[in-house]
Symmetry: C2
Subunit: 459 residues, 2 copies
């Protein structure tokens, strides 16, 4: 944890080529802290600093960087050194790096890798982004069902898998079909002479290579397991996704939900990221949303412009367009947030029963909110400006209807999005706001015509 050397001292030693002092100073640092230090340097200096680390440290530290920085550093690392680092990386991170390399870079790297690594990389890199197959590692321990506990422990000692993956062993038959699962804890606590097939847990939770990662992470959380075995359609074991990965996946899923709800989510590919996305990409994704919302806005403006007769008569109506359309967007965003959140936590599913549950719960709340806020707004408006009672009634009634309509729409839209196969959070707050703008002004002028129309016509 303790940083032994300041970044300036580090760069000074680096400039002098004094790698020995650096190696000693950095020997006890955790790879995460090392990555933090190294990642703050320009790629060329970072590559030089890597040489001061022990070979075992290099592979671990390298895995902490994003593919972009990894590739930038790789340009400054000798090919054999780079091949060794890649060999030492964890299998899933290695596959991610591979996907980010250009065909040229791949061709340079490939001959330097051992046959086993080459096949492993190709196999893992073949699964589409966001599936269990793309995130799994092929680094796990397997046992045969006819082993004794003593033999199993001896086998694990000989294989010496990673710390992440030693604690659960997978019992497979000759075809790699998954028969059962056994934990290192059970092996340690049991009589050495018992047989694995007696002790292993049958029907353990598992996932399939083509399942979305978010579901895999949820299953790991639900069943409190340290890793989930990943199977092909033929029930063959092809990898595991560990709880460490589930932690990262959960974090990214939360970030993606927020990004989409804030209208910065991409329709395809990664969502926008302040640090990672290029300016061009940030511009394009945001523009897509803003342009779409502007078109909504022009339609709304056109509708208001069409109400000229009424507006010319009762000009004060124009002043309340803003708070009324906001109200619909705000209740709508609130309702959508609650539904999207409950869906992300697995509390609500795409089924009619759950949608009705939401609407039944929302209705009394929305009516209550509408009544209180409509009265508040009408009172404040009446105190502040010279407004006729009829116009106050229009404002009151509109606020009530818009609050309830906005809330119901906000609650239903995430279900609609999920039905269409997209992320419920794609019903972003700005989108709901823009839809409710148009709905809000239509309601507003309909109520205004109904209550004020005769007055306007009579004058």
């Amino acid at each position: 944890m303790a940083v032994v050397m300041s970044q300036d001292d580090m760069r000074a030693h680096l400039a002098q080529g004094d790698l020995l002092t650096l190696r000693e100073a950095l020997a006890d640092l955790h790879p995460a802290d090392l990555a933090n230090l190294v990642g703050g340097l320009p790629p060329s200096e970072a590559a030089k600093l890597m040489r001061a680390l022990s070979p075992a440290q290099q592979g671990k530290v390298f895995g902490y960087f994003g593919p972009r920085f990894q590739i930038a550093m790789a340009r400054h690392i000798a090919r054999p050194d780079f091949a060794r680092i890649v060999t030492d990386m964890s299998h899933d991170e290695r596959a991610d790096l591979w996907k980010a390399l250009s065909p040229d870079q791949r061709a340079t790297l490939l001959p330097a890798l051992a046959q086993a690594e080459r096949e492993d990389i190709r196999r893992l890199a073949a699964y589409p982004e966001g599936t269990a197959g793309a995130a799994m590692t092929s680094d796990y321990a397997t046992l045969a069902p006819d082993m004794t506990v003593a033999e199993a422990i001896a086998h694990l000692r000989a294989e010496a898998p990673d710390a992440e993956t030693i604690y659960t062993a997978y019992v497979i038959d000759a075809d790699r079909k998954l028969l059962g699962v056994i934990s290192l804890r059970d092996l340690i606590l049991t009589d050495e002479r018992r047989s694995i097939s007696d002790l292993m847990m049958l029907n353990a939770a598992s996932g399939r290579v083509d399942e979305p990662l978010r579901e895999i992470a949820e299953r790991i959380a639900t069943y409190d397991v340290h890793a989930l075995p990943i199977l092909t359609d033929g029930e063959r074991l092809v990898g595991i996704v560990t709880i460490d990965d589930a932690l990262d996946i959960g974090r990214e899923a939360g970030a993606a939900t927020l990004a989409r709800f804030g209208a910065t989510g991409a329709l395809q590919g990664d969502d926008l990221d302040m640090r990672g996305s290029t300016l061009g990409r940030i511009f394009r994704v945001r523009l897509l949303w803003l342009a779409l919302l502007s078109v909504f806005g022009v339609v709304t403006a056109g509708y208001i412009a069409g109400q000229e007769a009424l507006l010319a008569e009762v000009l004060i109506l124009a002043a309340f367009v803003a708070p009324i359309i906001d109200m619909g967007g705000n209740t709508g965003s609130q309702s959508a947030t609650l539904v999207i959140r409950a869906m992300a936590l697995g509390q609500l599913r795409l089924q009619a029963r759950d949608m009705w549950f939401v609407i039944r719960r929302e209705m009394p709340v929305l009516l209550g909110l509408g009544l209180v806020v409509a009265s508040l707004m009408a009172t404040l408006a009446g105190v502040g400006q010279a407004i006729t009672p009829q116009v106050l009634w229009v404002i009151w009634l509109t606020m009530l209807v818009v609050t309830v309509t906005g809330g119901v729409l906000g609650a239903v839209l995430p279900f609609a999005a999920k039905r269409l196969g997209t992320d419920p959070a794609a019903m972003s707050a700005p989108l709901i706001t823009s839809i409710m703008d148009l709905v809000g002004v239509v309601i507003y002028f309909a109520i205004a015509w109904a209550l004020l129309g005769p007055v306007a016509g009579a004058s």
Copy 2:
């Protein structure tokens, strides 16, 4: 995984009191699946079904329910049975239940518990919600530094801690001061005669009892550990937070960020939850936000009403209030989303350097977005309605200025919130929208007076 019995069959057996058939059918189910089954029943029936489970299953299943359902069930469970269930629960979940019990319920339960459990509960329940102390468990394995590996393994076998907590052992001295950490993997892979003090890792990552849970979860993810030891100020070991907990904490932190950004977050206590929060609480929290936003809205309306002279002259200006204020809110929400997301992922911190980084990155994007959207909006407006060129210039210039202003405000507000010690996501999309309404109309009419004022005055 496989559900062996339909819920109807289950309730039929339950009504007949046929617990034996139920016990056999449910024997192999995972506690998470059992909890799913049991949790779907009314509390009285759920309590009856619990009796069909083996004692070992009961404690595990019970831990999966929320405190509200636990308490409802407890009313239908005999006191000695309930005491046994509570004793078998995991330590942190037990402390959570304790906090939710009324003083009466506590007084009933307490005499039935063993002394050790009573002290454990009281100690864990004393830490404030949301801190490491409140989420940690006191169920972990400790070793002495002078043990050999063989002695350490024998000690672990004798203590037989939970699956979650056996894989890392904590080396402490006579005062419970944490000296080092050693993994079961290292114990298994090493020569049996070596000493723990030689093998243990010094300077392992740790947390303090009063640290926020979110930071603890982040540290678990950063250092890829299965559990984080939690220390008091005197460096004494008092508990651990496991990676399982980190998974739940991360999920809840993501949900809380979304809830706050959607203006459904509480200022204090839990954020709103569609399933869990009472209608009264949902109403109060939402009303607080909507009322606040309505006050903004009335101020905006008052400002627009004050522009009567200009509006009466150029009525078409009223029509474009809606799309213009939306634009500011939408870019503002986008910028805020990107900043809040980057803060939640630990990419941005509360420091001047990071704020300038954001503004430098946002500026070119916002100018580009403003130019494109302003031109789009002015073109669409010009095609659709009979509008003078001067008014089109007003719309174009306003859209440009509002887009840039909204984006900068949205990017800066989360920093301001964090500076004030609140969650950056408390700068919710609706709040940013409402602030930008007022800013937007002020900009709009200022530009309109500047460009159209003489025309209006001349007529």
